[in-house]
Amino acid sequence: MKIRNTRDGWGAGAQLLHWLIAAGIATAMLLGWIMVNLPNSATKFELYALHKSLGITILALVLLRMAWRWINVVPDMPGTLSPREQKLAGAGHMALYALMLLMPLSGYVLNSAANFPLNVFGLVQIPNLTPESETLADVASVMHLAFFWVLAAVLVAHIGAALRHHFVLHDDVLRRMLPVRRR
């Protein structure tokens, strides 16, 4: 497998970024869900710190992924897809990219507006994006939760579509994001 993409397949770079980010998003969503429902405790705050660190890491990976996509060819969608399906897939992926940026950004703004410090994995402290503002923190909090639900819905569609391609349509769509030999 090549590092870079080709016209008909994703290279190792794109695959690595896809799966790293996928694992990061799943963990961050799960952590977020658990931590907000915990009563105040040391564990709760440790989960918050972990969630924030993970979110910033995902944001960096997403930016890297977009840059990588920009300097690579994007593989064509299989010709078996109708123009309508291709358009829908394109819109879905666009939404995923937007949400992958908005999700960590709204969290970062939320943390900044609360004027909480953000130390990524105890390694480096990053500056706050905004001045202290209760109103802004409230708005960012609502947005962060709203994006969570939209992202959850789009992810269900994304995973559902990938499985449909693999198990129903028997095409290469899922397989070409996996480090396996293509049929």
């Binding site: 040391a42 710190a49 609360a114 909480f116 410090p117």
Partner: protein
């Protein structure tokens, strides 16, 4: 003759007395260290602490102090500081809403914290104050290294010392955990004073 003599002696005595008083005056002045008033607009009694591993700054908006300091009379120098714990400001309304609570400063029960020096001594880098810091009725000795620069009628005092918040009972229960807020808190004293 005798009368004259006695008058002369009286003058002499009076003169001597005055001389003694006058010569004693500088001694009296130097044995009481200079009293300094804090210029609050240019002063900060603050701290640096960590929350979830990230550093943040805070300050006490309301504090008063009886400050006596003369570099040439450290024995008579002393600081007596009273801090209104409820005036804590860390620039985060969420955080500041918690700090007056019973687990933190418990401002209802302990509205004031104190720092009273017992000794001020010179060090190679400046000075250090040996004093008792009392927060929430917990008193522990805290040695504060500081520099003091007098310029005319004004003076600048800068000092910093790291204390353990847990020893003073600040942040109890679930807040005791260092991953929530680090135990080490650096107290920063940055004062402008005038005599």
């Amino acid at each position: 003759m005798f009368r004259l003599r006695s008058r002369a002696a009286g003058r002499l005595l009076l003169g001597l007395g005055l001389a003694v008083i006058v010569s004693a005056l500088p001694t009296v002045a130097s044995s009481a260290a200079t009293e300094w008033a804090i210029v609050h607009d240019e002063s900060r009694l603050g701290f640096e602490a960590t929350q979830q591993g990230g550093r943040f700054e805070g300050r006490f908006e309301d504090f008063s102090a009886d400050m006596r300091f003369s570099a040439d009379d450290l024995a008579a120098s002393r600081f007596d500081v009273t801090i209104a714990t409820g005036s804590v400001n860390t620039g985060s309304s969420q955080r500041d809403a918690n700090l007056p609570d019973a687990e933190w400063f418990n401002t209802d029960a302990f509205p004031e914290a104190y720092y009273v020096t017992r000794e001020i001594r010179a060090t190679p880098n400046g000075y250090e104050a040996v004093g008792d810091l009392t927060i929430r009725d917990n008193t522990h000795e805290v040695v504060l290294p500081f520099t003091w620069r007098t310029e005319g009628e004004r003076a600048e005092m800068d000092g910093a010392v790291t204390i353990d918040r847990v020893r003073f009972g600040v942040g109890q229960g679930e807040w005791r955990d260092p991953s929530v807020a680090g135990h080490a808190v650096e107290v920063v004293v940055d004062l402008t004073l005038e005599r």
